[in-house]
């Protein structure tokens, strides 16, 4: 955070930087990049789960931002505007890759795979046995559609009606995908914990179905 503090004390608030950037001031561009680069990169990394893609998308997002900065009229907070732009850039990229899972169109609930639960299973909670690195890895391995909803809601704080607008689905769909994402994460974290254990050998009960 020290480099961010440097930017804040040296330059000015975002609005002054934006005004200067709109006139082509390189220092203003650099300051805006410094102030927002970690948030943008983190968002790209979380939504793609891939370092190389996250780098490319961060670069693309900032280029689009700086090209369009002349159009920012200050009607909303700059960070909100930037955040929305980054989410759009990532989603466009995921859709171009032809990843159908990103589309959260309404599906027939009878055809969907039910959320699996192992009744009478290992009764140890995850608490105390997972860390952020493990969680981040597990999030990165989620299918793109689940990951998008999970990142937007639980990590970035978007509400379901906003996610529905971004991903062009219904609020109900967004809620159900979020729950499935969390259950998938739980499965992955528990499986990861089991693989890591060499001292104990626990049997899992067959899943209900």
């Amino acid at each position: 955070m020290s480099s961010d503090k440097k930017v804040t004390t040296k330059a000015a608030s975002d609005s002054q930087l934006i005004a200067r950037a709109q006139k082509g001031d390189e220092e203003a561009f650099a300051s805006l990049f410094e102030a927002h680069k970690r948030r943008v990169y983190s968002l790209c990394l979380r939504m793609t789960g891939n370092v190389a893609e996250a780098e490319d998308l961060t670069q693309e997002a900032f280029l689009q931002l700086f090209r369009k900065i002349g159009t920012f009229r200050g009607e909303s907070a700059f960070s909100t505007w930037l955040h929305r732009l980054v989410v759009n850039v990532v989603l466009m990229h995921l859709r171009k890759k032809g990843l159908q899972q990103v589309s959260l169109d309404e599906t027939d609930p009878t055809l969907e795979e039910p959320v699996k639960r192992d009744y009478g299973d290992d009764d140890r909670r995850l608490i105390g046995s997972i860390d952020r690195i493990t969680l981040a890895r597990a999030i990165g391995k989620l299918p793109p559609g689940y990951r998008a909803v999970f990142v937007l809601h639980d990590m970035e704080g978007y509400e379901h009606n906003e996610i529905a607008g971004i991903l062009n689905c219904s609020v109900g769909n967004s809620k159900s995908q979020l729950h499935k994402a969390r259950m998938k994460l739980r499965e992955a974290l528990r499986a990861g914990r089991s693989e890591g254990e060499t001292e104990e050998n626990r049997e899992t009960t067959p899943s209900v179905g």
């Binding site: 009607e75 509400e159 009606n161 609020v171």
Partner: protein, 309 residues
Amino acid sequence: MGKEDKTVLKRTPKCLLGMTPTKFNALQLGAVGLLFVPLAITYAADLVKQEKTFDTTANPHIGLSNMIGRVIVRAWDRQQVHVVYGTYSPQVNVDMDQLPQRGAAEKVHLTTRISDVKASATEKTVFYTLDVPAGSSLEIRNTEGRIDIEKISGDAFLDSTGGAISVTDASGHVVANSIEGDIHLTRPAGKVEAYSVCGGIHFVGATGPSMRAQTTSGRIIYEGDLVSGGDYSFRNYRGDIDLYLPASASFELNKSTVRGKFSSDFPTGRSQATHPYPGAHTFLGSNISSTATVRLSSYSGDVHIHRQP
């Protein structure tokens, strides 16, 4: 033609447009009948009304996103949001969501969802009427439908592409955007920013501290007095700007028009041209004791300041 024929023609009333009475009666009936056609079409599809009431906090945030159909939002004195909406097609649904899910809602969101993109305009139409707490903040997006807001004291962000926006007796910060629609602001008591491309912007009886309007080809009209210390900024490209002010209006004027004409019923200061283009002029003037600041800027439209009797 014989004399008798001329006499008959002379008696024929001009309003018959040269037709015989029988033909004209038929035309009248047909015209009246045509008036009912839109109504018939509207009622041919069944309008299905639904309503829901949310318990809310004193100043909830209301978000609404619609495509076609009028949206009316009115203030009332209950801590509830009462929604009544009407749809014509089962292909159109309304998502309603509240946060938090339990207890008094701090946020209420309404979204029109259209499953069939090929549905007709009538089928896509949803009418909304909302009664909300006066202190509510609003975010209303209605693409092709009109937005009417009344007596809201919270902030309002209103966005339309083709629909008009009308705000009456609002006292919060109002931001109104439209591409084609006109924007009407009646007795706004808070800060106002109005932007339109083709539509006009009309202020009546404003008492708020700051009024800003910008349009490309529409007309900007301001009727009423100016607030002491108020800030008024109206900018246009090709449309005219007209101010109708009482004789007692007190303001400092900064006006520029590159190619249009300027006139004022109020005395203005010495003109100081700053533009090489013939006819361009900038005025820095003042009238009586300067209190409100008025900035008028038009590229090729005319600017007029009228003194109201």
